[in-house]
């Protein structure tokens, strides 16, 4: 009898999982995504001119002509070109690995770069270094593409005319000759802690003592020395914190550094019912990935976070008997401070029980505040931490010894006073992202000579006298300090591609030294820091390891200056007033573009934002209730068209599409920065909207008082949240429970959803490899003597994904893209559902209905599940997708004829089809349409079949030579990095030579997604090896397999998420309960139904 599956019923709490408001409203657009593997019309050509019929005509004609001309009969002659002289260490075809480090504003992140024949192709975290332990983040992964960006700055120019290095050096000499004591010199740099840079700055300062040093980071922190003393860096100790309260601090997302993510997730690992998890409370205005992983979340507008902190401080002061703090709060509450608005309606129970929890774990709790919140709020939170006894325990400090610099506003003042004669701008892009009130563009024009080292031609270089290409970090010798203070090396992998200069080159020149040709500058610094006995041994070890052993600076004590801080808070604290029609605009860091510096990076443009699932654009995020108030119909907002809204502020206005963001605070509008670049390469052109003009020195993070109106226009957004939606199964794919549930029934996840409804699958047949008891035993030749026992190298590959650790950061997606030569397709193709990512991150919200303003969030990475009984394999007419004996569902590109049957039959919708020659033709080729969008967006001309073939050579250099670059008409999907598997097997066999011992050691290699993951949520390995991490995790009680009732027998196991709610908190009973239904306890069979004829 055929089973008819009734998809899961409502859970007891009424909560259900959903991806988009469109899904809740069951819009026709969503039905379209749900019911079809590819959306309606996805298989059709774009535009009216090239229809399918015309295309076939063209193809028929060209085939006939090809036959006539016999043009393709001769094989091309290929050449083998060996080196003239052998290159040290280089073995043709074998990759080399070098340590290096990537500069970020949070310190250098230690990396290992893979180079193939001199071309860096992939970035991994440095496994020897204690901070990343082999993992990386989204930006490090995609930085490799920046190196090969064909739109990089390539020429030295003077006043717009191309010139050469010698001319620049001569001009530089001229500038410095007249510099005198340096009173006319000014430097505008990016935040960077390189000791060599510090040393060179010191040398220059000696030579030109009056020179001005400014550092500008548009997303830099609001620092003040008042709480902890001068130049103290505060280091939260996540591994010691049991209860964490984050006040608008996205410490896993935009304020993350691999080290903090690792430290936090280490305290969230669940190995058994006795594991002690931390508890995370988050107060924020918009969903961030920190909010997504939290146990309790409160929506508060960013401008009211201070008010929340004040209410919190009052209760903490009372509970901890901190009289000074209590008095300060009272003083502020009494209205001593001007301009304070009404405290918004905050849930008193929320604060009360949260404080209780913090007090219970005093000394082991942690209150964090967003680094861009005003200094007064930061000082107040420092006082709260001090009252809770956390300072010196979960909060430690480190002295920052970098040379003091000034802020950009101070530099702007002396530029206004015409004191600056020569301005050096290294990196950055102040014309685009400096606070609007500085009017930087005109200021910069007023400086007689501006020398700019820039990575690409941008808004700032347009207005500079001299432009010099800036080197990528994989192109120069450098050094830096990692977030733990250890001294790391930056090694070049390749000579500067376009004759670029590094920052150190320029500073050395200004300091009167020679422009370095090798590591001599860094070696000098190394000698001073390491004081090595035997220089060359120490230097070689430094380069090999990537860091100087034992150079990490241990976090030390932190002292809180109570009196000064509380006075500061009393003086400065203010909460801006909000009203009914007065909105707050929050300038958020973009999870992909950061401050706009990655705008020309196609991988990052196309990665869906972890929360909004938006690609290629930014949008104004507003809550559903606010949207309704503004008159935006939310029911069908997940189609293609989004209403444009105009946001008016005193400083000006900006018009951009509204995105309705579940879980967003009311009256607040979040807009990611970094889009709408005016002067940018082909990838970034025409993407998103620039909101920097609304941002001023006094309100760098949020500004209150915006007026909003609908313009009546609509805009198309490339949103992927509904793509690859699965019929009725959303609630079955992600599973979660609470700590108490887990303790009472550790295998609760196994009986959730459909798995609770149906009896176990019983097969009449045994699976040739799965059910083979002799699989790991020793060989015997088969009866025919032909085939040898698979047990000789019995390996079976599998993967586990721990939903409890996954934050949804999407670093795995870019890692996969870099490793597997996955192309980008452009915004228009994304809107057609043709994005190519092999691994996607599904983001679900859970709530009762769309009126629930506080949905929970859960992220789930989903890749090919490598089903043992794979539905895709049985439908392929040409056997292009088959199973191998190691449990992989293998895709054979050269057999694939593109019927797409497999994709239609895949229950997970993880197969991707090359509709066009994404790898062979320029993604950005074609004409710009009226919106300035390049061909990819304009429709008719995109992927023009008759257009010139070929992409930039530099882009080809990034490709992984061990993975086939797929062509048009071929299906592809996750292979579990089969190239890495094969390489490991071959390495084992080569090492074995004439012995039979070639078993691959447990966990000796892993896939790209598992390697990058900072929380170790993805684990890959040999499931037949009992020693491997994956085989241990597969046995975990939390484990469940997707759609198990279909008997597809997946090789990927998911571990259910465990939330750790505080039972006293309001609404705690509904947290993590979207899957809790009546069949949580026992299995029972659904009513059998006769199939309808």
């Amino acid at each position: 009898m055929k089973r008819i599956f009734q998809h899961p019923t409502e859970s007891l709490t009424g909560k259900k999982y959903w991806r988009s408001l469109g899904q809740l409203a069951d819009t026709p657009e969503f039905r379209g995504w749900l019911e079809r593997e590819f959306p309606q019309g996805a298989a059709e050509m774009e535009g009216g001119e090239v229809t399918r019929r015309n295309f076939l005509k063209l193809m028929g004609a060209s085939t006939a002509l090809a036959g006539l001309g016999l043009a393709a009969c001769r094989r091309p002659e290929m050449h083998l070109v060996p080196f003239t002289k052998g290159v040290e260490w280089s073995i043709p075809g074998k990759p080399l690995f070098y340590t290096t480090a990537r500069p970020t504003r949070r310190g250098y992140s230690p990396l290992v770069a893979t180079t193939h024949d001199g071309r860096p192709t992939k970035i991994e975290g440095n496994p020897l270094h204690a901070v990343p332990k082999g993992s990386t983040d989204l930006f490090a992964q995609s930085s490799i593409l920046d190196l090969y960006d064909p739109d990089r700055a390539k020429k030295i120019t003077n006043a717009g005319k191309v010139t050469d290095e010698a001319a620049f050096e001569k001009a530089l000499e001229g500038m410095l000759k007249d510099a005198g004591d340096g009173s006319g010199l000014a430097f505008l740099l990016e935040d960077d802690n390189s000791p060599t840079r510090q040393r060179l700055m010191g040398l220059i300062e000696k030579k030109y003592p009056k020179a001005m040093w400014a550092v500008y980071e548009p997303l830099g922190e609001e620092t003040s020395d008042v709480a902890y003393g001068k130049d103290m860096e505060v280091l939260p100790q996540f591994e010691k914190a049991d209860v964490i309260l984050s006040l608008d601090c996205d410490f896993l997302g935009s304020e993350a550094e691999v080290g903090t993510t690792r430290a936090f997730s280490a305290r969230r690992k669940v190995t058994g019912p006795d594991s002690k998890m931390n508890r995370l409370y988050v107060v924020e205005n918009r969903y961030t990935i920190t909010g997504g992983i939290s146990d309790h979340r409160l929506r508060v507008p960013a401008s009211q976070v201070g008010a929340f902190a004040l209410a919190l401080a009052a209760q903490v002061a009372e509970k901890m008997n901190d009289a000074a703090l209590g008095a300060a709060v009272k003083a502020i509450d009494a209205g001593e401070v001007k301009g304070r608005g009404s405290v918004p309606r905050l849930d008193p129970d929320w604060i009360k029980y949260c404080v209780e929890d913090l007090v219970v774990s005093k000394g082991a709790s942690l209150v964090l505040v967003g680094e861009r919140q005003p200094a007064a709020v930061q000082a107040l939170v420092a006082a709260i931490n001090a009252a809770l006894g956390n300072v010196g325990k979960t909060l430690l400090g480190r002295k920052n010894t970098d040379m003091p610099t000034v802020r950009i506003a101070e530099l702007a003042r002396s530029m206004t006073d015409k004191k600056v004669k020569t301005l050096f701008i290294v990196g950055g892009n102040p014309v685009y992202n400096a606070p609007a009130d500085l009017d930087w563009a005109n200021l910069q024009k007023s400086v007689p000579t501006v020398v700019r080292l820039g990575f690409s031609e941008d808004e700032t270089s347009e207005l500079a006298t001299w432009n010099v290409p800036l080197a990528h970090y994989l192109e120069f010798w450098g050094d830096g300090r990692a977030s733990d203070g250890s001294y790391v090396s930056v090694q070049p992998m390749i000579l500067p591609l376009f004759g670029a200069w590094s920052e150190l080159d320029l500073l050395a020149k200004i300091a009167g030294l020679e422009k370095p040709t090798g590591p001599e500058l860094v070696q000098e610094t190394f000698k001073q820091i390491a004081k090595p006995g035997d220089f060359y041994t120490a230097w070689a070890k430094f380069l090999h390891d990537g860091f100087l052993a034992n150079s990490a600076v241990k976090p030390g004590a932190l002292t809180f200056d109570s009196a000064a801080s509380l006075t500061f808070v009393k003086e400065r604290f203010s909460t801006p007033a909000t009203g009914d029609d007065v909105y707050e605009v929050v300038f958020t860091p973009c999870s992909k573009m950061d401050d706009g510096r990655f705008n020309n990076n196609g991988w990052l443009q196309e990665i869906p934002d972890p929360i909004t699932k938006l690609t290629w654009d930014n949008a104004a995020q507003i809550s559903p209730a606010t949207a309704r108030k503004l008159g935006i119909k939310i029911e069908n907002k997940d189609g293609e068209h989004y209403e444009m809204i105009e946001i008016q502020l005193e400083k000006g206005s900006v018009t951009l599409p509204a995105y309705i963001a579940p879980g967003h605070a009311e009256g607040s509008i979040s807009i990611p920065l970094g889009y709408g670049r005016r002067v940018v390469g082909r990838v970034g052109a025409g993407t998103g909207f620039d909101v920097y003009p609304l941002r001023t020195t006094s309100s760098p993070y949020y500004v209150v008082g915006a007026k909003v109106r609908l313009t009546g226009d609509v805009y198309k957004l490339g949103l992927t949240q509904e793509h690859f939606a699965l019929e009725g199964r959303g609630g079955d794919l992600t599973r979660e429970g609470t700590v108490s549930e887990y303790k009472s029934k550790p295998d609760f996840a196994k009986t959730m959803g459909m798995d609770g409804h149906i009896p176990p699958n019983v097969s009449l047949y045994s699976h040739p490899t799965l059910n083979n008891p002799e699989l790991s035993s020793h060989p015997s030749t088969t009866a025919t003597g032909q085939r040898v026992n698979p047990g000789w190298d019995a390996t079976g590959w599998g993967m586990t994904v721990d939903l409890n650790s996954c934050t949804g950061c999407s670093a795995c997606m870019v890692a996969c893209q870099a490793e597997n030569n996955i192309p980008i397709v452009g915004k228009h193709q994304v809107m057609n559902g043709r994005e190519m990512h092999w691994i996607r991150t599904d983001r679900y919200f859970a709530s009762v209905d769309e009126n629930d303003p506080d949905p929970e969030m859960i992220s789930q990475p989903l890749m090919c599940q490598h089903c043992e009984n794979a539905p895709c394999e049985t439908v392929c007419p040409v056997n292009a997708t088959v199973h191998n004996e190691e449990g992989l569902n293998v895709m054979v590109y050269n057999r694939c004829i593109g019927t797409r049957y497999c994709a239609n039959n895949c229950p997970f919708k993880v197969r991707r089809f090359n509709f066009f020659d994404y790898n062979q033709r320029d993604v950005m080729a074609g004409k710009a349409d009226k919106n300035g969008h390049f061909g990819v967006f304009s429709g008719v001309y995109e992927w023009n079949l008759i257009s010139e073939k070929g992409t930039a050579d530099t882009i080809k250099m990034q490709k992984n030579p061990n993975v086939t670059v797929r062509m048009r008409g071929v299906m592809e999907k996750c292979t579990l990095c089969v190239q890495r598997i094969q390489e490991a097997k071959i390495a084992a066999k080569v090492a074995a030579r004439d012995s039979a011992e070639y078993r691959i050691p447990a966990d000796s290699f892993t896939t790209a997604c598992a390697q990058v993951c900072p929380t170790e949520a993805i684990v890959f390995g040999d499931i037949y090896n009992p020693e491997s991490a994956v085989s241990k995790l597969r046995a975990a009680e939390r484990g469940y397999r997707l759609l198990e009732y279909l008997n597809i027998n997946t090789r990927v196991t998911y571990l259910a998420r465990i939330r750790n709610p505080n039972p006293k908190m309001p609404g705690a009973e509904k947290i993590g309960a979207a899957m809790r239904s009546h069949h949580g306890e026992d299995k029972h069979e659904a009513e059998p139904k006769e199939p309808q004829a």
């Binding site: 060996p82 293998v890 590109y893 080569v990």
Partner: protein, 244 residues
Amino acid sequence: MANIFPRSSNILPIKLVIILFVVSNALTVGAWYYFTPKYTRVGYQPAQPIPFPHDVHVGQLGMDCRYCHSFVEVAAHSNIPTTQVCMNCHSQIQKDNPKLAPLRESWKTGQPMEWIQIHKTSDFVFFNHSAHVNRGVSCVSCHGKVNEMAVVYHAKPHSMDWCLDCHRDPAGALRPLNEITNLNWQPEQEDPKAFIAKYGKPPGSENRDFSSSKERLTQEDIGSTLRDKWHINPPDKNCAGCHR
């Protein structure tokens, strides 16, 4: 009675004959080309910039393959020697030979030699030399007797079917590891007693008497012994073994 068939159908038989002729010719020509070794490049022997004589270097002078193809045991690629390697000897021997002018030119200018590629696998095939030569497959199995070639040519078909012949039954190509680069090695030369002492008796040879000098080892004997001894298990059904 009116004609059942229109007048134009009179020429239908002629049309059919012509079509049949064209189609059958096309099929013949197609099969001629694609089913013969020509398609698999067997015999392809392009003129190289220097007519490097393998027969002199290997056959007469007895150089080992790995002197020039030095990374064949460690890498997927078997490298073509650098100009520097050639110049190790040719800076002293035959240093005025006009045929070596391109080599001296390359050494002087630093511009690499451009040899014409003879053996080429498709881009979607990931062949690994080290996996073969370290596990008992000789160079000769795929490249033929290069030691006897005055100018190298494509000796074997290198089609997928040809690869699979061996992957399905590796016994036909395995030999002791010290004989990998000995292109003249014959299984009959192998001393049965020494071989059996080292690797054990060939499977299914219980009734054979290897103490007699007449009883020689065959390739099947040696191959199947080594296959079982070393657990040679090449990917045969696993597409991902070569296609990634």
